[in-house]
């Protein structure tokens, strides 16, 4: 590859991932994501203490748990008492990240603590998809300038600017959008994987309506969701929703290449996730939060222009 063409690729890469963006948007994302994790998705300490008390060993330890166990003896960290300490350290870090005090460090500790709790929960032979992308996003926030606004750090810097920091916190940064763009790519990839695995494993039989009726009926009955029990009895509607599911999952990635239409995909996916919860209790609340953040802050021009009218 010639130097010129290499340079063009680098320019394109930078133009996609690192355009100048308001740091306020990333700060709002930080506040919403950390608040949601702290107040809505935070681990249940008693659940972890119960697992640690009743299981002398992990059943299927996650990579992170194995890595920690290789460094720290199991009896030091993986005990009910040590997890209680970790729980409170993670909460304190979360509150600091929320108000933006030592933002990068507190976000990193908060994200790492959350990762350890989730990895521990999934080390007993069970795992779910709901937390993964949200936890990755929390960690990415620690690597981005998400404390430039709406933070104690920014307030301190405005009052007492450092000698090499004449301007204080900046209003725009070319490092303030890439975490949202990564989440967009990951959501597209995971939807594509979910849709293609249905088609490759089951073929078009997945669209027959009976499949969706069966999945919905069992879960809705077990979790007490009347809307799902009703839906499971509507064959034609189940066929239509099966097509919608496959089309959304397989073609969501198109939103990566059509920024103008991306908000419509985000709205469609948000409706999809809400529908899954209402009908059968599939609680992808973390996805709903991420899709809402993408909807408002990845391409904000669409709603800003509507507000301006």
């Amino acid at each position: 590859m010639s130097a010129g063409s290499m340079s063009r690729w680098v320019d394109r890469w930078n133009a996609y991932w690192f355009p100048p963006t308001p740091t306020l948007h990333l700060a709002i994302c930080r506040v919403i994501a950390v608040a949601a994790q702290l107040l809505w998705f935070f681990p249940d300490l008693e659940e972890h203490r119960n697992l640690l008390r009743k299981n002398p060993d992990f059943i299927e330890p996650q990579l992170l748990v194995r890595a920690i166990s290789a460094i720290i003896p199991r009896e030091w960290l993986f005990t009910p008492d040590a997890f209680t300490v970790l729980y409170w350290v993670t909460i304190v870090a979360g509150v600091a990240a929320l108000v933006g005090l030592f933002t990068r460090t507190s976000l990193f500790v908060f994200a790492l603590g959350t990762w350890i709790f989730v990895a521990h929960l999934f080390s007993y032979g069970d795992r779910h998809h709901t937390e993964a992308l949200f936890c990755i996003f929390l960690m990415l926030l620690a690597l981005a300038p998400s404390g430039e606004r709406l933070s104690v750090d920014a307030a301190i810097r405005r009052r007492r600017p450092l000698p090499n920091d004449a301007g204080g916190p900046s209003d725009t940064s070319d490092m303030a959008i890439w975490p949202l763009k990564v989440v967009h790519v990951l959501i597209a990839a995971t939807y594509f994987s979910a849709g293609m695995s249905k088609l490759l494993h089951s073929g078009t039989r997945w669209l027959n309506g009976y499949t969706l009726q069966g999945h919905t009926f069992g879960d809705a009955l077990e979790r007490g969701h009347p809307a799902g029990i009703w839906l499971a009895q509507q064959h034609e509607l189940a066929v239509a929703l099966s097509f919608f599911t496959i089309l959304l999952e397989v073609f969501f990635f198109v939103s990566l290449f059509l920024p103008r239409l991306a908000p419509l995909f985000f709205l469609g996916a948000l409706g999809f996730q809400i529908g899954l919860y209402v009908s059968a209790g599939y609680d992808f609340f973390q996805h709903m939060v991420l899709l809402t953040l993408l909807l408002f802050f990845l391409y904000p021009a669409w709603w800003q222009s509507r507000l301006a009218k």
Partner: protein
């Protein structure tokens, strides 16, 4: 700044690229969280009656107290509880029952001496949903000195 962009670019490559690992590396597929395979609800169903089975496993102690065996009570995830115990016992295979009783009795004074699996099948019909009670499966532990 270019150096920071290079570092962030490496992070971006890693975060996206590591999602390929569970797809390619089948043996570790389930233990690479948060990098996961996203093949959810991929199984399909043949055209025909829609039915589902609801199960409850009850543990009866030597003093007659009855507890529903939940993931919290046994200290296992719902998936493991289902795969190791509920499904086999539900099909009449009682071989995992002693292990489950042993597990339940580790942290209690009044020992569990009997397991009872109750289940019912719900079927969607033209006239609504019908419920059929399935036969109850019972396992009684051998209590030392009871012979």
């Amino acid at each position: 700044m270019p150096q920071r962009k290079t570092l962030v670019s490496i992070v971006i490559f890693l975060v996206i690229g590591l999602h390929a690992v569970p797809v390619l590396y089948r043996s570790e597929r389930g233990t690479l969280w948060p990098f996961m395979q996203w093949a959810m609800y991929k199984n399909s169903r043949k055209p025909g009656p829609i039915d589902t089975r609801q199960r409850r496993l009850l543990a009866i102690s030597s003093k007659g107290a009855t507890d529903t065996v939940t993931p919290h009570l046994v200290g296992l995830s719902i998936t493991v509880l289902r795969q190791r115990y509920l499904v086999p016992i539900g099909t009449g295979d009682l071989s995992p029952a002693p292990e489950l009783i042993d597990r339940l009795n580790r942290h209690r004074g009044d020992p569990v001496v009997e397991l009872r699996l109750e289940s019912e099948t719900y079927t969607i019909t033209d006239t609504g949903i019908t419920r059929t009670d399935d036969p109850v499966v019972t396992y009684r532990a051998e209590v030392p000195g009871s012979r």
